[in-house]
Symmetry: C2
DNA sequence: CCTTAACTTCACAAATTTCTGAAAGTAGCG
DNA sequence: CGCTACTTTCAGAAATTTGTGAAGTTAAGG
């Protein structure tokens, strides 16, 4: 009900959410800057922000934005887009895309499996320790398959709930 | 085939596995000392080690062991046992117990959900950002249920593979 | 081409985290 | 009751991580 034409959200409220969600991400193991940048994108209206918008909103240097975004892109939590006809770059969080990245723990799991296999070999499959490692390995192999099926079910569910593909 | 009565494993090989598996755990977000301690327990024959054994094997101070173990116990990755009739404490990794702790990310997820709910409220459920947050929230709620069912299936599977309950 | 707007890289200062030695508990055992 | 064998706590040194300013790079637009 103000006379502003674009209904600007209360920056105070946005910032409050950004910081509190970022804090949770940090606690879960993400670095601080990537967490804040990601939270900011998640709570933006378009799901996209430019480098300078991020820099301004979060009060951090362009260098920090650059580093954070590079990391986030690497783990597929955001994607980068070039605005045609401008040097400006836009960073985007696809609603449906990012938590699939959580799934990409898969790469991590593969490495765990590798390390465990080596362990089973070098300690001996017939030793108590070897057996313990083998069981852990079996667990991860199980998880591998389950996660894939689970994400399949989620896509179906999501369709039900929100319609859009 | 040596004349040693207890068939000591090659400490070299054990150490190699411990360090390489610990490295993976670190990369996944665990702190260094807890990771090393945990890997050492995982590759021990009995699945238990005393404080001084850990201290010696990993070449770290008793203080470091104490800190690492406190953390691991807190997140339920190891349990502590008192040897009756001795001040000595024993730390144990239950083969089937520890990866259930991975599941206890559950607590983490609950906090994420809380933060997201607040975000939806304060940004407005009818805004684009609000809708994005709501979808993310729905995803986590979905995961909650799935993980529980998945662990159920694992227990069945484990029974098949290894027999022991 | 040259200018300029944008992003990236790099070296370093600051903040944080990690590990240790030393001191202080705590409980078994004589 | 106190000695002894362990473990935990704590303050601080050392290592690591983080974020910045400044210089470097790249491409759009004149």
């Amino acid at each position: 009900m103000t006379d502003e034409k674009a209904p600007e959200r209360d920056p105070e409220a946005v910032s409050k959410f950004v910081e509190s969600f970022a804090a949770q991400l940090v606690e879960a193991g993400l670095q601080r800057m990537p967490a804040r940048v990601f939270a900011a994108l998640l709570s933006s209206d378009t799901g996209t922000l430019t480098s300078s918008e991020l820099s301004e909103q979060l009060k951090i240097s362009p260098a920090a934005v650059s580093g954070a975004v590079r990391y986030l892109a690497q783990v597929h939590m955001v994607s980068r887009e070039r605005e045609p006809g401008s040097r400006r770059e836009r960073y985007r969080v696809h609603a449906g895309q990012w938590y699939e990245a959580l799934t990409n723990r898969e790469a991590v799991i593969k490495r765990w499996e590798h390390a465990l296999r080596e362990g089973v070999d070098s300690l001996g499959a017939d030793t108590p320790a070897g057996r313990r490692l083998a069981e852990t390995l079996a667990f991860f192999e199980f998880i591998d398959g389950e996660v894939i099926a689970m994400m399949e079910r989620w896509r179906v569910r999501r369709e039900e709930l929100f319609g859009a593909s």
